[in-house]
Symmetry: C2
Subunit: 247 residues, 2 copies
DNA sequence: GACCCAGACTAACCCATGTTAGGCGTGAAT
DNA sequence: ATTCACGCCTAACATGGGTTAGTCTGGGTC
């Protein structure tokens, strides 16, 4: 991994390069963004439903989710977010948050003032397009989850989610081959997949029993990637990753 | 209803005014967009998964959905679209469609060349922002559906969907108070809500029995809007409609 | 080293929803 | 008129996954 990508701006640039081709001035402008760093503990809200934040939240370390609490106290998790991603770009254009952003693990984020981002997209239309693209990919992921929760079995959903997180982590150069940490409890997996904790547990054990994955604690090892993809009906097209040379 | 809004460009402008405040030059530019009109029959695909279209599709009349077919032949419908809406703005930035767009009823649409739209958003940043906003609202609706399919009961889901479509039709001035046509079979409702046709039928009958709605054919009459909202756990905040004066 | 707690895991039971299979009514096509 | 197709509706039965109510384990803390 290139050392420069370990910096806070580097992570962002690495992520943006998955989405669009960046010119040198564009990279320089991204690298010059003002950032207010903040560490967060696990299970903390970074943005609340109903807020109208004046900053966007870039993740540097840790595992984040977007979620909403429903009328009867149930929770639905909409997406997981990884280092390098901005969780709430949307509030540049939709001022009031219709959902919350919370941490699953401890970590660190950088708050970037809306004013700085607006200035950036005014000066660099290419970056505006990349941001728009990023929110469109978010939407594509929502659609895929919708298809999963609506029409896939619990086994397919869980296998699919593992495939997705693994693929995205790989695309950000954050993990080595086949092994990664999924700092998420089984209850949280259930909230993401529309399942009960008990059933998540049952299914995970099935996947292990069938030799698709192994796990110790939160460390997950993919034993059989082709069969896991097949079990999850996983096709990464919806992630719209730019094909990268030399992989 | 203002007569000019019945024209193809009028419908689009009416929709855009739900999303953003438009200046007169912006309205004029929208009104000057080139459009290729096309009538479509019911249950026809307007855009196919895997295509890389060179035009966007504006609906003028009829009821449209976005959907995807999954591995085992099941279908998931992601959203319904109403006259005035552009179904595939996203393909301006994500060239390959990761899902299909199909008609539920017969109707008419207008194809607008990407080149014309790109030129428009280059010249009018306000329109670019409005388009971005529109796709963000799409995403908000996906999230709400995700919450519904993941965590709400069949009764809540169906009531919620009726509330949503009704609210959106009203916001576009397309229907009078309390009555509207929902040109969707029960099987299609099931595909949208992650339910079987049989169960959709059961639940609809419950809603009628409990006096929340009545229906003759596809015409739906809302008998008790407050109770229907409550039954569907419906809060329209996620639609991000601009509050409009004089309603 | 005793205590606590969160989270993984288990077991028994149950229900919301799915599946299968068919009937009925209406409108379009022949 | 007859047929066909499609969509609404019903009934009987099956099951995936939910609910409840735990036990067990390992890591942190006093």
């Amino acid at each position: 991994m290139d050392g420069s990508f370990a910096s806070q701006h580097g992570r962002l640039i690495r992520k943006m390069e998955n989405i669009a081709v960046l010119s040198e001035p564009e990279k320089a402008a991204l690298a010059a963004l003002p950032m207010r760093l903040k560490d967060f503990a696990e299970h903390t809200d970074l943005v609340h439903e109903g807020d109208a934040p004046q900053e966007c939240c870039l993740i540097l370390e840790g595992f984040i989710c977007r979620y909403k609490l429903l009328g009867q106290g149930q929770r639905q998790i909409f997406s997981f977010h990884l280092p390098g991603e901005i969780t709430d770009l949307q509030c540049l254009q939709l001022s009031v948050m219709d959902h919350s952003v919370g941490s699953l693990s401890a970590g660190r984020c950088a708050y970037i003032p809306h004013a700085a981002l607006r200035d950036l997209i005014d000066r660099f239309p290419g970056i505006a397009v990349a941001f728009w693209r990023d929110t469109l990919i978010d939407a594509a992921i929502f659609r895929e989850w919708l298809a999963g929760i609506g029409r896939r079995t619990a086994h397919q959903r869980i296998a699919h989610l593992i495939c997705e997180v693994y693929t995205r982590l790989r695309s950000l150069d954050l993990i080595p081959d086949r092994v990664f940490d999924l700092p998420v409890t089984q209850a949280e997996l259930g909230d993401a997949l529309g399942l009960s904790t008990v059933h998540v547990n049952r299914v995970l054990q099935d996947l292990r029993r069938n030799g698709l994955i192994t796990s110790k604690g939160r460390r997950l090892l993919i034993e059989d990637w082709p069969r896991l993809q097949e079990a999850g009906d996983f096709d990464p097209a919806y992630l719209h990753l730019r094909a990268r040379e030399g992989r």
